[in-house]
Symmetry: C3
Subunit: 359 residues, 3 copies
């Protein structure tokens, strides 16, 4: 199952041709980014989030839509997210300055004509249980209309994620390079990925894989996800398509030649800090409901354990990659798999180089 | 109760007129600063303290006055405060070099004619249960003779304080801007401050406030501090005077037109680290004893709880201010209340701009 | 017992004559350094270590000698020490790239002709229970043949050590300046060292001391180490020789005029981090077995407690020295004891000045 690279391929994606350090390329702000799960921001509450070091206060008034402000009071800079929501306004906890959804402020102890400037507003939207903001300076594009199959009742969706201490690009590379199945060997057993091909366009690319199990054993958690037990798992017959559609990713798994995904995963990675060495991952993992009702619900605890464990293995390794990058002070990666070189180019072209590192 | 600012006032205290970053102004060393409570340094002990990153060893010999030395052995630089006190000398714990109150050192294993230079001595003094040092280079002024009403037997005094992770100037601004009563609403109930006026001179300024309680309710802790229950708290009739007398502060509360303070608070803030992003606060809170003996002692636990809680709310908010300053890398404050702008000028004029930030 | 320095001595070792900052002198890499205890790396295991910030993977295959590689996968830079050992190769845990003792790598999913460069190999050796590497660029010298008396059956050896948060030079100075007995006064009782003289050569020096006990009391732990109880410990009669043979140290104790050491200590200090502000100490403490069998084994727990406590007192003080150096940003030491000035010169001459400090 060696993957032969022809020399044209190797030449077109020469490592040293990229003068840019990918881990210093910021997530481009002119996109929609997830900043909170909908259930985290209850009515009458304000919650702290961030995008690449910009603190963001997410406010859900008692009535009406969520809105997002710069998370600082214009007065003494303390977080508005420490304040309280009354009617449609968020009140700073210190001297009681208050703000509405337009960011305009009202100081209770000075005259109407002397009100100072307020704070920045971020366009915001909700989709399939996630609150998104648009941190860029261009006018906001239409917000996402759906996230994988999370809104489709034919699927049962598990939503999870956490802060991962690495640059978002490590997440993209991790998912797209299925040769990393070696990492999950203790969880999934031995799986041999076979790369089938790729497609690409403006701001996106996708890869197809199939898998073989040399030892014909499949763990329970995996069978539950991918659609039932198989009598002979040694013959490759399934298709996995992994797609980066900047800045998000999806993974679709089609069992045995079908054209409806048995598994549909949507993944979003929001940089947390200025240096973008941390990201918050938001994942919707949607499994198509089998014909027999209740089976999937019964299997859910096993599936949860299995996906948590795989995600945790991935988290540990990408954090080790970031630690190595930080220690080495530069990107020493020797990428030999051409699709990953292309992914790196895509991420590099679509992102925005960060300012010089802060002390 | 809006506070109208006339335009002359607004003009004279224009925000952008101050080119100096107040949080980079160090506490001026040519003043007396508290470095320890007297009870912390027992006879025959040496204790570590600091002023703005300068380590200071405070020594109380078995006999005689406290003295303060640079907290490092001249030999291998380890803290003298790790050593031991014998007679009037402090002995370094490592090779046994010893120092007297003049900072002169004695090395036990070399000849008298070859003794090396010793360490710096800081002028020191004790007043009302606090040990002060004079960290400056000018000759020391006479030390403080009293701290508020802490030495007056007509008052009962609670002494408290702690390390607060912020620049000392946030402490001054916090206390002086009573519009921050909004912060304490859950502890004190709703209190509406009314600013009455200010006085200022060389190195000091003071503000007068009175308070109204729109809902006529007063918490028990507050009544205990300010002199008994009142039948109608809705009419303003009390006076609070807050004073910065560089580098310390006081707060006096005069109940119902009296001219003897019912409450007298003295506050000192000593920068701890080189960057002065931390201060150690020393507070004497003195309450005038009521005519009926024992009432105040009975009430003391409630009063302690109440003042601890108010101080803790203040600590959290000033630390958030420091965190915002550190994240923003500059002072973005938009101060709209003229007395606070004057206070900032006073602190700026009387302090000393710090060297460029260390890495 | 003052130690008189004649002026010629004082002149020849003038403090200000040394322009180099000793704490910025790195341990010279062209020597053998301990990186692990042999028992830490079991057959079929790989373990992480480091030398001055260079991560090192130590591999012990099922068969054959230990080997040491740069601890990073050539692919995505994650530590090889997180991987697994199979036959004679270590496999990276991420995509399964594998390496042999020559550092050559094998990528399972690409063709033979396209294999990328591997990783650096460090010469390695084992001696008396310690794994050594040669981190330098010169050809490796013959590895150590013995470490003090650790391989001698006439001795019983206790092997211990830990990470100490200081530059390795503080360790050398600590051991060699026996005037620091003052530090151990609570553990050892009062001991007065008497310096007898020194010898030196290329890359080494050694000092002789004897000791007096003004109060004639000797702690149990000490008698066990140094060869039995003495009826009159007040007369100096024993000899201690401390030697720095770059980059390691030994301490030998000869009781009552004997020429076979009753105690033989070998000490190695390996810098851990790039800045060399931490070292890992490896200590073999070998005590000559007395004529009566079993006595030493019986006494071992007391001896262990005693040596642990002395080492812990030393650790605390050298870490305080490092902390002082870090706070002061330079070496302010005023060394008055000529042999220690010579030791500093020796360490300075034999080390290698580090690059400018990293941010």
């Amino acid at each position: 199952m060696d993957m032969e690279l022809d020399s044209a391929e190797a030449a077109e994606t020469n490592i040293s041709s990229a003068p840019v350090d990918l881990r210093r390329v910021g997530a481009h702000p002119d996109h929609w980014y997830p900043v909170a799960w909908s259930h985290e921001v209850k009515k009458g509450q304000v919650v702290a989030s961030s995008f690449a070091g910009e603190p963001i206060a997410i406010v859900r008034p008692q009535q009406g839509d969520v809105y997002a402000l710069e998370d600082r009071c214009a007065h003494r800079q303390v977080p508005l997210s420490k304040g309280s929501v009354k009617d449609c306004r968020v009140h700073c906890c210190y001297h009681g300055w208050s703000y509405d959804a337009s960011g305009k402020c009202d100081v209770p102890y000075i005259g109407k004509g002397k009100q100072p400037n307020g704070v920045r507003v971020y366009p915001s939207a909700e989709c399939d249980g996630i609150i998104f903001i648009w941190p860029g300076s261009l006018p906001a594009a239409p917000p996402p209309a759906s996230l994988g199959a999370a809104g489709d009742k034919a699927y049962k969706t598990r939503s999870f994620g956490r802060i991962v201490n690495c640059h978002y690009t490590f997440m993209h590379e991790n998912l797209m390079d299925m040769n990393h199945q070696f990492l999950h060997i203790r969880t999934t057993g031995k799986v041999t990925p076979r790369y089938l091909g790729r497609r690409a366009g403006e701001g996106w690319m996708e890869l197809d894989y199939t898998f073989a199990r040399p030892d014909s054993k499949q763990p329970l958690g995996e069978s539950l996800i991918t659609g039932g037990f198989r009598s002979d798992a040694s013959k490759p017959r399934d298709l996995m398509t992994i797609r980066t559609e900047y800045p998000h990713q999806t993974l679709r798994f089609f069992a045995g030649g079908g054209d409806v995904p048995a598994l549909y995963v949507w993944l979003g990675y929001t940089p947390v800090d200025v240096e973008q060495r941390k990201n918050r991952s938001f994942i919707h993992l949607s499994v198509r409901r089998p014909k027999i009702p209740g089976v999937l619900d019964l299997a859910w605890p096993v599936l949860t354990w299995f996906t948590n464990r795989v995600f945790e293995e991935d988290r540990i390794i990408v954090e080790l990659e970031q630690a190595a990058y930080d220690a080495q002070g530069a990107d020493w990666n020797q990428e030999v798999f051409p699709p990953i070189r292309e992914l790196r180019d895509l991420l590099s072209r679509n992102g925005r180089v960060m300012a010089a590192r802060q002390a």
